[in-house]
C-alpha cells in the first residue's frame, strides 16, 4: 500500500512536470522565436496568442516544485541544492519574460527592451531547464541525506546538449502553436520555423538518445541489452512514426495536427526518460521510495489532488475554449 501511494505520487509529479513542459513550452517557444517576427502587428499577435494563458501555464511549474517538496521532500532538497545555479538562472529568466507581457504594452518607448527581455528570458529559462534535465540524468553526488558535489557539477557537455535540445524543442512547440492560432504571413513564417526546428528537435532527440545509454550502466542495460531491447524498442519506433506524420501534416498544411504531433513526440520522450531513470528520482542514488514523504501526508494530499486536479483541468480547458480561434493584433486587455 505504502509503495503504491509512492508510485501514484511519482506519477502525479511527472504528470505535472509534463503538463508544465508542453504548456509553458509553447509560450517559452514563442519567446524564443519572437525576434524573427516583424515589429508591429505580427509580434503583438504572437504575444496576444499566449497572454491570457501564460500564468496558468507557469502555475504547473509551481505545482511541480511544490509537489516535489510535498511528496518527495528529500529529493526536493537535494536536487535544488545540487542544481543551484541553473535553477536560480531559470527563476530570474522567468521574471524577465513574465513581466514583459504587461510592461511592453505599458511602455511603448522601451518596447524593444522588453521584447528583448521576453526573448532573452524565454531562451535562458528553456536552456536552464534543459541543463537541469541533463544534469539530473547524469546523476547527482549524494552523501547521507544531502548533496555532496560541487557548484559546477551541473555543467557538462551532455547537459549543454540537453539544454540546447530543449530550446529547439520549445521553439518547435511555439511554431506549431502559432500555425494553429494565426493566419497569413505570420502563419507561413511559423510553418517555416516548424520545418527548421522540427528538424533540429529530431537531431536533438537522436543525439540525447544516443548519448544516454553511455552515461550509466543502468541506462545501457535498460535500452541496449537483450531482452530489454524488445520491450523498449517501440518508443523510438513510435517517435519515428510520429515524426513522419508530423512531416506529412506540415506538407498538407494542417493547422492543428502539427501541434498535437509535437505534443505526442514530447510525450514519447518523457516516456523514454521514465524508462531510463525509474525507479530513481535521483538516478543511481535515491529511489522514489527513499525520498517518499510520510504515508499520512501522501493520503492527505491525494484526497485533495484527486478532487481538485480534474476541476483544474476542467476550468483550464474552459479558459482555453474561451480564447479559441485565430488571434490578431489589436489592443491589449480591458
Amino acid at each position: 500500500m505504502y509503495s503504491d501511494l509512492t508510485l501514484i505520487w511519482a506519477f502525479i509529479i511527472v504528470f505535472a512536470v509534463f503538463v508544465y513542459v508542453v504548456m509553458d513550452g509553447f509560450d517559452l517557444g514563442i519567446g524564443i522565436l519572437f525576434p524573427s517576427f516583424k515589429v508591429g502587428p505580427d509580434r503583438d499577435t504572437a504575444m496576444n496568442s499566449i497572454a491570457p494563458v501564460w500564468d496558468g501555464n507557469e502555475t504547473w511549474l509551481v505545482l511541480g516544485g511544490g509537489g516535489l517538496l510535498a511528496a518527495f521532500p528529500l529529493a526536493y532538497g537535494v536536487i535544488l541544492s545540487a542544481l543551484y545555479a541553473p535553477i536560480i538562472t531559470m527563476l530570474l529568466a522567468l521574471i524577465f519574460r513574465g513581466v514583459a507581457f504587461e510592461f511592453r504594452w505599458r511602455d511603448p518607448a522601451h518596447r524593444p527592451f522588453w521584447d528583448a527581455a521576453f526573448t532573452g528570458g524565454s531562451l535562458l529559462a528553456a536552456l536552464s531547464q534543459g541543463i537541469v534535465l541533463g544534469a539530473l540524468l547524469e546523476g547527482i553526488q549524494v552523501s547521507g541525506r544531502a548533496y555532496a558535489g560541487g557548484w559546477w557539477d551541473w555543467l557538462t557537455p551532455f547537459s549543454l546538449v540537453t539544454g540546447l535540445g530543449l530550446v529547439v524543442a520549445y521553439a518547435l512547440l511555439g511554431a506549431t502553436w502559432l500555425i494553429l492560432k494565426t493566419e497569413g504571413d505570420l502563419q507561413r513564417q511559423a510553418a517555416r520555423h516548424a520545418w527548421r526546428f522540427g528538424g533540429a528537435t529530431l537531431v536533438a532527440i537522436v543525439t540525447v538518445s544516443a548519448m544516454t545509454p553511455f552515461l550509466e550502466g543502468a541506462y545501457f542495460n535498460r535500452w541496449l541489452t537483450y531482452p530489454n531491447i524488445l520491450w523498449v524498442a517501440p518508443v523510438p519506433l513510435l517517435v519515428a512514426m510520429a515524426s513522419l506524420a508530423f512531416v506529412r501534416s506540415l506538407k498538407g498544411g494542417h493547422e492543428l495536427a502539427p501541434f498535437l504531433l509535437t505534443l505526442l513526440i514530447f510525450l514519447l520522450c518523457f516516456f523514454g526518460l521514465g524508462i531510463s531513470v525509474f525507479p530513481y528520482v535521483i538516478p543511481g542514488a535515491i529511489t522514489i521510495w527513499d525520498a517518499a514523504t510520510d504515508r499520512s501526508s501522501q493520503i492527505f494530499m491525494l484526497i485533495g489532488t484527486g478532487l481538485i486536479l480534474p476541476l483544474i483541468l476542467g476550468y483550464t480547458g474552459w479558459a482555453y475554449w474561451v480564447f479559441r480561434g485565430k488571434v490578431q493584433a489589436g489592443s491589449y486587455h480591458v
Binding site: 535544488l80 510592461f103 544531502a146 494530499m301 488571434v327
Partner: protein, 471 residues
Amino acid sequence: MHGPFDALLLARVQFAFTVSFHFLFPAITIGLASYLAVLEGLWLKTGQAQYLDLFRYWAKIFALVFGMGVVSGIVMSYQFGTNWAVFSDRAGPIIGPLMAYEVLTAFFLEAGFLGVVLFGMERVGRGLHFTATLMVAVGTVISAFWILSVNSWMHTPAGYALNAAGQFVPRGSWLAIIFTPSFPYRLAHTVSAAYLTTALLVGGVGAWHLLRDQDNLRSRTMFSMAMWMAMFVAPLQIVLGDLHGLNTLVHQPVKIMAMEGHYQSHPNGAPLILFGIPNSAEKRMDYALQIPQVSSLILKHDLNAPLAGLDTVPQADQPPVGIVFWSFRVMVGLGFLMAGLGLFSLVARARGTLYTSSALLRFALVMAPSGLIAVLAGWVTTEVGRQPWTITGLMRTAESASPLLAAPAVAASLAAFVVVYFAVFGAGVVYILKLMAKPPAVHELAPPHIPVRTAGITPAQAIQPDRTPSP
C-alpha cells in the same frame, strides 16, 4: 568558522529579501481582487458606468501587480530547496502538503480565471465574467489561508512527531497541523492588513486626483469607498493585532519580550516602553520613555501582573531585540495613523468636506504607501522575533540551511536577485505610478482604433462576422 556563518547569513538575507519583495504584491492583489469584484458587482447591480470605469482603471494596475506577484512567487517555491535543503527535507512532510494545497486550490484558480477577467469581457457573458472576477478574489484569500497555515506551523508547531530519518511527520489529525494556535490570529491580521493596504492605496490615488480636480465623479467614488474602509478596518486591525499579540504572549513569550524591549523581568508590573534605544550588549534600554505598569495592563489586563524578561531566557535562544523592537513600533505607529485617517474622514464626511478638505486629501495621499510599510514591518517583527528558530523550539535556523552552502554562490545569487528585483520591479512600480497618475476617465480605455467592438484582444469578429462566437 568564518565561512559557514557568512553563507548562513547571506542565505537568510536572500530569503528575507525575496520574500519581502514578493509579499508586497499579494498584499495589494488580495485587497485589489476583492475591490474589483465589488466594483463589478456594483456595476452589474446599478448599471452606473462609473463603476465599470473604475473596474477597468484598477484592473490595469491589478494586471501589472499580479504579474509581478506570479514571477516573484515562483522564486519563493524554489527558495526553500536551494538554500534550505535540510529544512525542506525535515519539514517537507508537514509543510509540503499545505503548500501543495495552496497551488491546487488557489494558484490555479487565480491564474485560470485571470485571463478571462482581463481579456474575456467581450467573449463571455457578464454573469460569467463576474464569476471569474469572484474566483480570482476568492483564490487570493485561499492562497493566504494555506501559506499562513504553513507559516503559523513554523511559529507554533503542533500535530507532529519525529521519524527515524529526523523528519517532522504528521501524527493525529491534519486539522491540528492546519489550525495551529497562532493561525486564526495570523490569518485574520494578515488578510485584514491586505484590505487596509489596498484601501490606503486606492484612497491615496483618489486623493491625488481630487486635489487636481474636485469634480471627477470617479475619483470621488474611489476616495469615498477607501475612506469607509479605513474608517472601519483600521480600528478592527488594531483589535486583531492586540489579540494576535496576546496569543503570541502565550505561545512565543520571548518574541513579546523583544517587541516590548523587556530585558529585565518585572515581578510587580512591567512598564510600556514607548521609545528607547535597545542596548543588547548591556542588556538594557537606553533613553527609555516609558509608562509604568501599562505593559502588564495590556498583556495581562492587570497593572501589577508580573512579566518575565529576556533575563530568564538563555542568550542562545534570544532574538535580536533591536530589529524586533523597532519594526514593531513602526507597524503600531502607522496603524494608529491609519485609524486617525479613518476618523478624520468621518468628521469631514459629516461636515460635507470629504472631497474638498485639502488637509484630509493630503493626509490620505501621504498615507498611500503606509499599508505596505506596516505590512513589511509586521512581518519583520514576527519572523525576526521567532529567531533563532525556523520552527519554534524544534529546529534552529543554523541547522536548516543546505550543508554545503558556500558564501560565494549565495552572495552571487543574492546580488543577482537584488539587481534584477530592483531593476525589473522598479520599472513595474514606475508603470504602476504612471497608470495611477492618469485620472480615471469616462469610458476608461475604450480603444479608439477598433471598430464595432470596444475591447478584447480579438477584434477579428469585427472583420469576420462569421467567426463571432455565440454568446
